[in-house]
Symmetry: C2
Subunit: 407 residues, 2 copies
């Protein structure tokens, strides 16, 4: 009798927890899906408008000033993806004002041709929504951390159309070596809901048509070498961003001057290069590399430079899509030198540099499946594993902890 009562007590306990998380995740997923779709369209429109009106680049310094003003106004200066990670690690608080601030700052950055992504912004907006949703559901400290992860996954999913990658990324990125299994269902349900909402609102999921070579030992060895080189590129990418952030803050401690100067620097770099390829997120360059197999050898270095200056000066948007750009153009150039088809090399590079930068091999394998299909899965796994191992303790997020030795 007692055993029976205990069994039903446990069933009730588990089903209540499931119900609570599904409810929170669906509501969070709806919000993130709606805002994610809006953000996606905003960035697309800003990019289109900029491409049609190249003179907008001249407004970049002014956009920098506006961004600094926006952050001062909302008292969210200096907040970024690391603060979202700290919410989960340390239970820190988050201002709801971060949401509109990063939203409009990223749009301004893209409109005026700063080199930045959008996934970093997505993680911040999603984390912020999840955090406040958890508070609105009167959750305790531990559950609010899970709710924050749920929001991150949902917004990532809405923007990119990769719900499983978003889920796995959210549950592994905070502490490398730990799988936050308890957040799996909240994140997955949030990501699926947001994905569905974004599809309904007309957002196309990101997907590339790439043919993977047949399984073959020699090709495996080549892919392993490319993975090792991608580790080096990811180290260069992360350290360039950190270095410019550090050096610009030291040289130009005043954020207004730093933003304006950074804007002028990006203008100067653009005219020196004579191309707009490195402004904005550069999705069209990524598509050219991954689907067309075409990229210039110097592209990845220039994108690192543009992105490091843009972000170091205080512009917004994040580092994930730039890491895709850097990886894809690098892999597209290096692949054929190693005997790998250019387009497939670009796909490998995209995923492997991302993996080296965020230290999440499992999420990166899911990314490869959701972006390119499962045909080349084993190649992607090898290349990501090697990039993870050899990228050492470098990474994009200084708040991320790597719990175990990599070797």
């Amino acid at each position: 009798m007692d055993a029976c009562r205990a069994f039903f007590y446990r069933v009730k306990l588990y089903l209540t927890a499931l119900g609570k998380w599904v409810a929170l995740a669906v509501v969070t997923g709806f919000c993130c899906g709606f805002l994610g779709a809006l953000f996606h369209m905003g960035v697309e429109m800003a990019t289109k408008y900029r491409t049609e009106h190249p003179w907008l680049l001249w407004l970049l310094p002014a956009a920098g000033l506006a961004i600094v003003g926006l952050y001062k106004l909302t008292r969210t200066e200096g907040q970024g993806t690391n603060d979202i990670i700290d919410v989960v690690h340390l239970g820190k608080g988050l201002s709801i004002w971060l949401l509109p601030t990063i939203f409009f700052s990223t749009l301004l950055t893209h409109l005026c041709g700063g080199s930045a992504g959008r996934e970093g912004a997505a993680l911040q907006m999603g984390g912020d929504i999840g955090y406040h949703m958890g508070a609105a559901f009167h959750m305790d400290d531990r559950d609010i951390r899970t709710a924050t992860l749920c929001g991150m996954a949902a917004f990532f999913s809405a923007l990119f159309g990769t719900p499983l990658t978003a889920t796995v990324f959210a549950i592994v990125v905070v502490s490398i070596g730990v799988l936050y299994h308890a957040a799996f269902i909240p994140c997955l349900v949030g990501a699926l809901t947001a994905y569905w909402v974004s599809l309904e609102l007309g957002v196309e999921p990101t997907h590339f048509a790439v043919a993977a070579p047949e399984l073959d030992a020699a090709m495996m060895a080549r892919v392993a070498i490319l993975g090792a080189l991608c580790a080096l590129v990811s180290i260069l990418f992360c350290n360039s961003i950190h270095f410019l952030q550090h050096i610009l803050t030291r040289w130009l401690p005043n954020p207004w001057i730093r933003a304006a100067a950074g804007g002028f620097a990006v203008i100067a770099l653009t005219f020196l290069c004579g191309t707009g390829d490195y402004n904005g997120a550069g999705m069209e360059v990524i598509v050219r590399a991954v689907e067309g197999g075409a990229a210039r050898p110097e592209s990845f270095l220039l994108k690192i430079l543009f992105t490091a200056v843009t972000l170091g000066a205080g512009f917004k948007g994040g580092e994930v899509v730039p890491s895709f750009f850097v990886g894809a153009t690098f892999g597209c150039w290096m692949g054929p030198l190693l005997g790998i088809p250019a387009a497939f090399g670009a796909a490998l590079g995209l995923v492997s540099v991302f993996c080296g930068a965020v230290n999440c091999p499992i999420a990166s394998i899911f990314l490869s499946i959701e972006l390119f299909g499962a045909g080349g899965m084993l190649y992607f796994a090898l290349s990501c594993g090697i990039s993870y191992m050899l990228s050492g303790y470098n990474g994009l997020y200084s708040s991320q902890t790597i719990l175990y030795s990599k070797l």
Copy 2:
């Protein structure tokens, strides 16, 4: 200058580690691939021979005695998958004699119609090979644990033709909540090598042709309910096995008598059921459910009973393939009641009951991709996530630790 020297020192450190692990993994992969292929063919032949000569079932009690004798002779009594997990957890030692013992015991079990799998045996043989390979490479305690995981992944991969599932399973199964990232490359390279060797030796990778339904919210809800029911089935499966192990040991403390009595019990059960469907691994029943969409409603309960008696009596082979059988036949019957196509329900059930029993949702999602393709990935992820969450702290392996709360 110093920075330069430090950089090259680090490069050398990382490349040495990579070289060491690739060397160990390739050698381990070759051994495991060769023995795995041999084992695979052995089990196939034993199954074929038994199907052609049903009288072999009468020898099951004698086979039980032979197995007890074999374990006594090699002084490996009572060793099993939990001991492999303990090697990784606690750095315990392992006898090399476990390898031939479990090899022949599993073949005998299959030849005479005991209801058991082969993956448990694969994990033990692979772990044993990896452990002794690490020792042969003069590795320290920490590295020997990683080498053990490498062997587990390699043998699993050779037998099933699912290298990525094998890799992820090995690095997450020991401590639920921890990702042993440092073992990723050793396990992956071992699994790929063993997979290649087994392909060369003519082993067909396990793969099923199943069509996944289009993405749809109503179908998602149905899949979630099936996932919840699979959690209950996995609890029943694990607890039946533990319960019969416990009760048979208490009733018949003498292992000789236990094995013989268990053999007679399986014979009696077989005649009561009037079918050989529940003897051996039952791959043909799994194929019938997953590809043909056909299974009897009582199948999953009978397979639980047969397996619990077989393993409780001391026969060998492991619980993974029986969990596939139970899940596939359950899902095949329950799916249509919920509005899910029978064959797809079988595929969902197979992966979800496995997930509930081993507590590894990420490895289970990879299993679904490698067995059924990536088309239904999001459905499998939801069903596995719910099965993981609701299966509580039950599991096949008592040595497995679940580090964080599931709720």
